[in-house]
Each structure stands twice: as C-alpha cells, then as structure tokens.
Amino acid sequence: MISNRWQYAVAAVLIILLVGEVLWYAPITKSKPGSFKILGVVRTSAEAENTVSITYQLFASLPLDATVVITPIGEFSQDLPVYVFYDTDYPTVATDWTFVAMLQAHLNAELRLRGYSNETKLANAAELEDIFIRKEPAVVIMASGAFPSNLLSKETNLVKPWVDAGGVLVWFGFYIGYYIVEKGMKSQDITDNMTQNLREDGSRELGLDGFFEYLEMKDQPTVATYPSPISDALQINYDLIQQAPLLDMVWAKNGLVLGKTGGENPSGFRSSVSIIPMGVGKIVIFGFFLMESLTLNGPELAAWDLAQILCSGVLQMKSDSVQYCQSYSLTEQETKNDTALLTLKPGITGFVVFEYTSQRSNGVLFHRDFVSEGEGS
C-alpha cells in the first residue's frame, strides 16, 4: 500500500489531525472554561430603602479574567432584532461599506457568544423604510455616516417617530442628521454644501437640538481619556469624540455616559458613547466614525462595545441607577462565591446579571440572566 516513503508524511499528518479532532470534540476531553450560577436572591426591606442581595458563584476550569456586572433596569425588554444599514446603492461619508459589513459580521458573532436571542442582519434603505413605517421595535445601526433620503430629508422624517415609538438607533459618523445622501450618488460627490444636507437642522429634526458643538474639524477635540463608571464596567473601547454630544446635554436629558469623556473645557466635555432617551426609544451615539479594521475604534472592537451595551441591560437602565461591578482573576479550578448588594429604587423592575471574560482572558465565558424585583424572600 505504501509505495513511497513520503506517503508516511501524509499518513502522519492525517493521524495528528484526527487526534486533535477527537480531543476537541470528545465529551470527555472537551474543555469548558468554567461556569457561572446565581445561588440566591434575597430581598430585604429596611425603613429607609429596599435592598436586594444577589449571591453568585463563578467557577474556572481555565484561568478566567472575568467581570460580573449587575444592572438595575426599569423595564425588562426582550432581545430586539438588530439591523445594520448596508446599501451599496448609497454612498458612505468618510468611511467604507467594508467596515460596516465587518461590524455586522463581528456583532453577530459577539452577540451569539453572549446568548443574545435575536438575529443581526444587514438591511438596505428600502427595508429600513419599511421597519420605520411599521414602527417595528428593533435596534438599527447606522454606521455609513449619512442618512439615506428616504428615511430623513427636508420633506421626510421617519426616524424620530420610530425612535419615539420604541426603536433604538445607533449612530456612528458626523453629527447625526447632518449629511443626507441620495440613491446612486458617489462618495466622491459628497460635499458639505449639497442642497439636500440638513446640516445643523438634522440634529434638531431628531430632537437633539443643542447636543453638539459645531466647530471646525481642526478645533475639535479628538480623543476622550477619562473612563466613566459604565465604560470601566463594560470595558468599552471606543474613545473618539470629534462629533460627540456634549456631556451636560446628555445628563440634562437623563441620558447615560457609556464611553469615555474628554474635551477642551468642562462645558465642552463630551462622551465617546452616549445613550439619549427619546420617547419610548433611545439614540446611542458614538462620537465619530468607524475607523480602520484592527484599530481601537475599528469595526471589531466597536462590535464588542455594541454587544456589551446590548447584553448588559444598560439600554434599560435609568440615569439615576448605579451598576454593581466586580472583576475577578480566577486561576484554574478556583471557585469564587460573592454577593452583590443593590438598592431597589422606585421604578426598578429587576436586574440584568451579566458576566463576561475580558478579551485577554485564557478562558472565554459569558453569562446573562434576568432577576426580577419580586424574586427572593
């Protein structure tokens, strides 16, 4: 059967591969990174305030660099479908459709890992128009830098009513609503002076009047350096603030600062990622564009940021609530039991318990759970 000595090389490689495959697939040798369990929920009522203590157990069979974040939420929401605007019939402004497609692919994977129960799809301008008209509750991510004219223009505004009705709009790019693009236009034809551009009126049309400081690009601050409690808790990477909303305005509208903060002076301070409530819905604004692949503000890490935001419950978090956050570095076979003590403020219906491992952890373990305010004794 073996007529040439080099056939042994082929056989040896095949055997090594098969051993690798068996080791990886076989239930006995298949490794698990560890486990996360909620052991108990206890509700206590004192004179001044109600508290809830959540006891959990973290076990590591591989070294884990894990963080547990517990977010008090106003209203529990099912995982919404996620649509990423992708339509090559329209131009992008100062970015590329490639990055948008990469964002969707990575986000889909990141959400699947975290047990997000709905799909992430690409949607073109016509599909988004349909979603907005039907007021479908969804997360829509616009990262091409401009609105297509069928969604927002001088004559049309399908965006605001949809957000008001419960939609979640995620925006990357120049000032939201500034540029409007028509079908068939080319990226190189986009200018600041195009007649269809809404310019400063765009943000006004979307209910964000006064949120932005319209400066020359050279005068804009670029990078936010001060972490916020939520950016620390969820390890949010995105840090660009060239076109980010002003911090004071975000707070004034009961919004949340998810990213890092920075800027020239206290009144001009901005947040690299913000949530701004709008009617029943929300607008999540990233402070600038998606950058090149494999960079700090590129599509891969932006997908991580978005997955953290969508899975941790911060979208349902109230501005006066405080998250619980605890990080652990567990060695192999180590078990950690811990208890989180949370204040139950009026309007809080429960807690999202979210466990994740950092991007540099040896073991990869994600866990999500919802604990209702009524659980426990």
Binding site: S3, N4, W6, Q7, A9, V10, V13, L14, I16, L17, L18, V19, G20, E21, L23, W24, Y25, K30, S31, K32, P33, L62, P63, T88, D96, W97, T98, A101, M102, A105, H106, N108, A109, E110, R112, L113, S187, T222, V223, D239, L240, M291, E292, S293, L294, T295, L296, N297, E300, L301, Q359, R360, S361, N362, G363, V364, L365
Partner: protein, 462 residues
C-alpha cells in the same frame, strides 16, 4: 541496534546534515522573539476559544481553516497540562505612545507561546526542504543540483521571514502543493489528491489548483485519441485523485463548514486591499485602495469566471500536454500563479510561499525560473519590511529581552510610519509601491516563463 547505529551514522554523514543543523539553529534563534504583532492576537484568541470549547470562528478570531487549530490544539493542550500559561501581556508603552486609531498591537504573548506556535511551521519548513531535495534528485541526475535547490530553500530570507518573523502557516500550503505535485509526478494519484485535500484544510487555495489539475488528469492525451488517450485509465486516475482530495475535507467537515460559513458571511463583502501582490499598486495608496474597495463587485465577478477560465485552460493543456509528467508540474505552477492573480480576497506577500517550493524544484529543469524565485524573494521580503518597518516584528524581543526597549520600539515604529515619502505622502507607501511593483512584475515574468517552458517541452515531445 546495528541498523539504528548505521542509520544515525548515515544521517550525520549525509551531504545535507551540516546545512540542516545550521538551518535548524538559525530557525530556533528566530522562533521565540519575532512575530507579526497583529496576527498573534488572532492566534491567541482562536486558541482561547478552542480551549473554552467554542469553535475558533466564533468571533472571527481566526480566518485559518481547521488544520492549524487541530494541529496546535493537542500541542497547546499538553503544554497547558504541564503548567504553561498563554496569557496576553499588555505593553503599556504602546497605549501611551501611539495615537488612538492607530493599529492596536499592545497585546503580546510569551516567547514560549511563539515557540509552540512555530513548532509545526518548523516541521513543515524542514520537510519542504527535504522534499525539494528528493524531488530534484528524481528529476535530474545531477546530485549537486538537488543540494543547491535545498540550500536555496533553507537559507532564503523570504521563506524564513514568512514562517519565523511573521509566524504565518502558508508554508503548510506550500508543502502540500509540492507534495501533491511530487505524487502526481510519481503517478500516485490518490496520495496526490490527499495532499491537495490536506492543503485545502490549511488554506482553501490548493482546491483551486486541484480542480483544474483533475481536469488535466481526466483529459490528458486527448489530442492523440487513437494512440495515448485512454478514458478508462484516465477516469481511474481522476477518481483516485478526486477521492484523495475529498477524504480530508470530509474527515474535518464540521469545523470546515463553520469556516466556509464565516468566509461566506463575513469575508465575501470584504476586499480589504491592504496587501497582495497583484494589488500592491493600490495597497500603497489609500485613495486607490478605497477606489478598489468600491469595485468589490467587479473583482468578485472577475473571480467568478476563474473556474470557467481554469476549465478552458486545463482542457487546452490536456490537449497539448500529452503524457509528459514534467509538463504537468509546470501546469500546477501555472494554476497556483493564476490563482494568485484572481483571488478576490486580501492577498498578502506570504501567499507567495504557495508557489515558491514548486518554483525551486522546477528551476532544476528550467533554469530561467531562478529569476522568478529571485524576484519573489526580494520583493516579498522587502515589501514585508516596508509595510510598517522591520521593527514591527520586534515586539516580543522588546518585551522579553533587554536588547531593545519597548519605548524605543514604539518611537521608531511611529517615526518610520510618519517618515515623508517622495512619490507618495509617506516613505512606507513609496517602498510598498516599489516592491509591490517588482512583485507584480515577478508574477508576469513567472507566468510568461511557465508558458514558454511549456511550449518548449511540447516542442521537445514533437
């Protein structure tokens, strides 16, 4: 016992022993302290996912097919059981020394990780050298030629850079394409197919060579239908070749399907022209790369004609090739080169390793191919060094030795990246254009030489 001693004695007195030991030492020196800093993040992440029971394609951590993972998994698993840690280590200087938005390369792995990662590369690299030696010996009677070809391989700075500076697994593909060619030359069709199948598990490219090759196997001798064309014999060979190709892919189907889905869903929309021989001209200039990305549809349409072009060409080659086996070797090189010109994905200089071993072997019969090897080696090596400067490979050296400090490394890399150019805005763009241009020229020259040599071989037959 006597037999073993005799074998060991023969090993040490072999004409290659000294060079092999020297080559091995050189490689061992390069293994622990050099890596392409961005790829190692993907390698470590993929391994973390594998060790955690997730597939390595879970978050696009890896774009390598299953081969690399199934071969490294037992190795790393064993090392892990022995207490070796594979943590990422952060270089603080990178975070503070670079602007936001620049490439993230602040995470690195230990030298031990790099050694383990490169052990399979070392094996395939040395096997390739030995196979080149054996192959050349069976092609030409001149034993000095076999040694010369072996040395061209063993001490070629470009091949060393791909496996030990970059840490890329393209040598595995190069080895299996060469092994497939070797078996085909020896008339062992099943093993040839098996080699191309295993190569496909390492990177999908060998299948694009195997398909036209199978057409040649099926229709060889078509012109002389009354004399040498024997459909029954050809069909038998074709079947053996095709089954050989399919076996490894079927064996590792679950993860291979995951991989195919990932490529289809994620990568198909992504023609990130950030490297690649036939697109190097565009790569160096951001404006033109942007232009090219805008025409992804055109690139993909052109690629969709690749099977038809291959089919027509393979049929034509079957028509003219007769049964001369050396001509079949030239056609393997031709299809490997053609694939390089057609692939609508990110093409990088290390992919030259798919064709290099075959060119080294073929240069023993067709000396003019030395030009191709020379051009590819120079262009590939210097293109690598031009992209972000030679210092980009030195992160582990700066982090784990006192030979170089991370501060120095970062400031030198940033200073190189900002060096002004003459033709373009930056020096790195100028250098990429120059060496990319040379590489592109190398491709054209190689295609021309292969076709010319085919015509000569055909004339020899006539």
């Amino acid at each position: 016992m006597k037999r073993s001693i005799s074998l060991i004695r023969r090993l040490f007195t072999h004409e290659l022993s000294g060079f092999l030991i020297l080559g091995l030492l050189l490689r061992i020196v390069l293994m622990p302290y050099f890596i392409w800093p961005y790829d190692i993040g993907a390698y470590q992440s993929a391994l973390a996912y594998l060790m955690s029971g997730n597939d390595p394609y879970a978050v696009h951590a890896s774009i390598y097919p299953p081969f690399v993972h199934f071969i490294t998994y037992p190795l790393f698993r064993l090392a892990y059981q022995l207490g070796v840690s594979f943590d990422f280590h952060s270089i603080q200087e990178v975070l503070t020394g670079t602007r936001s938005g620049e490439l993230v390369a602040n995470l690195q792995v230990s030298p031990l990780f790099l050694i383990l990662w490169k052990v399979p590369l070392l094996c395939f690299d040395l096997l390739t050298g030995i196979l080149i030696y054996c192959f050349v010996k069976s092609l030409v009677p001149d034993s000095k030629m076999a040694k010369r070809c072996f040395l061209i391989w063993l001490f070629n700075p470009f091949t060393l850079a791909v496996s030990y500076l970059n840490g890329s697994y393209d040598i595995v593909v190069g080895f299996f394409i060469l092994l497939g060619a070797f078996f085909l030359f020896k008339g062992n069709y099943f093993s040839a197919g098996l080699s191309f199948g295993l190569g496909t598990l390492a990177k999908t490219s060998p299948i694009f060579v195997a398909i036209p090759l199978s057409i040649i196997v099926l229709f060889t001798g078509l012109r002389n239908s009354f004399h040498s064309f024997d459909l029954r014999t050809n069909a038998g060979r074709f079947l053996k070749f095709a089954v050989g190709c399919i076996v490894p892919i079927v064996f590792f189907a679950p993860l291979f399907i995951e991989y195919a889905n990932l490529m289809y869903s994620g990568i198909s929309k992504e023609v990130s022209i950030l490297g690649g021989l036939n697109q190097w001209f565009f790569a160096a200039d951001q404006n033109r790369s942007y232009l090219l990305n805008q025409h992804i549809g055109v690139i993909q349409t052109v690629f969709s004609y690749y099977p038809a072009i291959c089919f027509a060409l393979a049929l034509f080659l079957s028509w003219i090739l007769e049964l001369k086996r050396e001509s079949a070797l030239l056609s393997i090189a031709l299809f490997t080169g053609l694939m390089y010109l057609f692939l609508p994905i990110t093409l990088q200089p290390q992919y030259l390793l798919w064709i290099m071993p075959l060119l080294v072997v073929l240069s023993c019969r067709w000396r003019s191919l030395i030009w191709s090897i020379g051009i590819f080696s120079v262009a590939g090596f210097f293109f690598y060094m031009s992209l972000q400067g030679p210092q980009t490979f030195l992160y582990p050296l700066a982090m784990y030795t006192r030979l170089y400090s991370p501060q120095e490394l970062i400031s030198n890399i940033v200073s190189y990246q900002n060096s002004q150019g003459i033709i373009s805005q930056y020096l790195r763009q100028d250098l990429s254009i120059i060496f990319g241009g040379i590489g592109f020229l190398g491709q054209i020259v190689t295609m021309a030489l292969l076709i010319r040599n085919m015509r000569r071989t055909k004339n020899d037959i006539e």
